[in-house]
Symmetry: C2
Subunit: 378 residues, 2 copies
């Protein structure tokens, strides 16, 4: 294998596939990046066997030459060293040549590296996915969906299924749900799909976080292909594979109350900042819990008390308070996570009593819902 | 005590004195910040008993009112909570009022904190320093001196005196020296001093690093007062006290070779980047060691070899090479630290043989010198 490549193009691809490479793998070859060169261009692959990322650099793109392929071939190079080297090379172009025993020479200007490569034949093959059932979402919407749900997945392995986000597609509507059993985030979106496709899968939260870092904030349509145990996200020159979680996701729809006994509407920013301050002292107590009171006047009060440090009382004027007066306690952290995920300047919170889960939505937006279980303190 | 203060002024002072506050102190009251209010303004103090910082906020400054003092007094508040609260309060002004048992109320808009305070009488007194012997350096020059020397102090406590920087003042010339016994950094500066002052002290590296963060990058003259066991840096509204290290600093002057067998002149940036790349593979080996060769043609070669990973050869064209051809090995990290500390686009390195310390200076600049001991590999 021998080729000359634009360093910035190579670096971008290396940094993309690097997101799938783990240093703590039990399969030594997976600490490497696979390079395969053909006349069409260079393909890089990184994998930790849960996530696999393939990035393609076309030889020619929009009339610009990215790669000059002198001899096709393949090699696997240590990911950590390879990425550091490409980042620091002195010139705009890099020459990469594989000799006998996979010994690989990397040249740029007066800099020359010789790296011990591995045989690309020994690199695990990526899952073969039949592209029968495809649906499409724009890259920026995928990033939003991930940002608004993935924070609510469980970080504990006691119920592994809850470490993923449930993606349910039916009648061209995608419903994404994440819960750690103390709070829940739900996001709906309209999607384009072939043959009125339906599916119901659980994608690991970690995979979605990595995917979000790789996607650009554009309206480029991403093809999504779901199989029994894999999901594939196809962008222009990037393939992102993730395994799916085994098992049935719990039915969360019955958790979400439909009626309301107390409804408040409040400016998101004021409410968020007041809770942030009230939680400063709560951090010392258990689980960041703050107390919340509504008053008939429309005043909201958030307070917390830590006997050793002191106490704090925050007041926020709501836009409206309807229904019963309420005293409730909840985790300030969960509330702040939920408020940051919601879009819009005003939010509506529907309570059905001090011991019941409550629902937070952006005003006039039914595509997104945050639910939090209260804490028993009163 | 009761006063109303501009929040941004208070926050700046809190963040300055916070740099002296350690959470790992054996004296509980030192986890707090002392506030003392008089008609003139508010004084904040933080200390970990090695470093003490006092910041004064004048009631009035340049015609602007910073503080409205309603009742003078004092209190000590938990530093961590106090700084977080001041940072997040909603309005531009803050009211602070101390009631009975040092219970302190902090109000801003509709936010109200009650913090358990401590008696300011129990806070240790700062060292009393007689201002007899004063010399002066501009803030930006102090920051430079610190940046160019402090990285070379020892991080090991086996020889505690080497964890500090030696400041020697004689005939209005200050010589600052730091060494960890593998490399040495030396910086000279002209200073203004009273009565042709002379002194010879060792200031802890950590104190200098914190001082550097507090000083602004201006040409404001800082008064420096040295006593037997303390040094005081006096800026306009800040006092920075540090204890001095006990013991005699080693005489390092005889370490610095005066003659040279091989002299090279090279562009700092090219040399630094080549060493950075050569060290990428060296990191795997012991102590980041790279090999360095000069050639009669003026070519410099930096190389390293890590049998498991591969090898790298970097070539740099020097401006000039004079004297014997040389093969030497040294720590890439020490060399990069030294090159980053030196100013100027070209550097001169004077070698006196493969086993002898060598000296690096910026071209035509004798105020600064970096010395590195080679490593035996050839």
């Amino acid at each position: 294998m021998k080729f000359i490549i634009q360093r910035d193009k190579l670096l971008q691809s290396v940094q993309d596939v690097l997101k799938a490479v783990s240093t703590r793998t039990t399969i030594p070859i997976l600490t490497g990046i696979k390079l395969v060169t053909s006349e069409e261009g260079v393909t890089l692959t990184g994998s930790d066997s849960d996530i696999s990322i393939e990035s393609f650099i076309p030889s020619e793109e929009d009339g610009t030459i990215n790669v000059e392929v002198i001899q096709p071939g393949s090699v696997v190079l240590q990911a950590r060293f390879f990425s550091e080297i490409i980042k620091k090379l002195p010139m705009d172009t890099v020459e990469i040549e594989v000799g006998s025993h996979n010994m690989t020479v990397i040249r740029s200007g007066k800099s020359e590296f010789n790296l011990n490569g591995l045989d690309a034949e020994e690199y695990p093959l990526l899952p073969q996915i039949e592209e029968e059932n495809v649906f499409r979402i724009s890259a920026d919407l995928i990033k939003n969906i991930i940002r608004q749900t993935v924070f609510a997945v469980s970080t504990s392995e006691t119920r592994p299924i809850l470490t993923g986000v449930n993606w349910q597609l039916e009648n061209s509507e995608l419903i994404c749900t994440a819960t750690d059993s103390h709070r829940l985030a739900l996001r709906k979106a309209k999607v384009e799909s072939d043959n009125n496709l339906s599916c119901n899968v659980v994608i690991p939260g970690k995979s979605l976080s990595e995917l979000s870092k790789i996607l650009d904030d554009t309206n480029e349509l991403i093809d999504i292909v779901v199989t029994e145990n894999q999901v594939l996200f196809k962008a222009k020159n990037i393939l992102f594979f993730s395994r799916l979680l085994d098992g049935n996701y719990p039915d969360t729809s019955r958790l979400i109350p439909s009626e309301s006994k107390t409804t408040i509407t409040v400016t998101t920013k004021d409410f968020l900042q007041a809770i942030d301050r009230a939680s400063l002292l709560a951090r010392e107590g258990r689980n960041n819990v703050v107390k919340f009171n509504t008053f008939e006047t429309g005043l909201l009060e958030i307070s917390s008390n830590s006997p050793e440090v002191g106490k704090v009382v925050e007041q926020v004027q709501s836009t409206s308070v309807d229904g019963e007066e309420l005293k409730i306690s909840f985790s300030a952290k969960y509330m702040m996570d939920a408020l940051k995920a919601l879009e819009g300047t005003e939010i509506v919170v529907n309570f059905t009593g001090a011991m019941r889960p409550f629902v937070i939505k952006a005003l006039n937006d039914d595509n997104m819902l945050q639910l939090i279980l209260p804490v028993r303190t009163y």
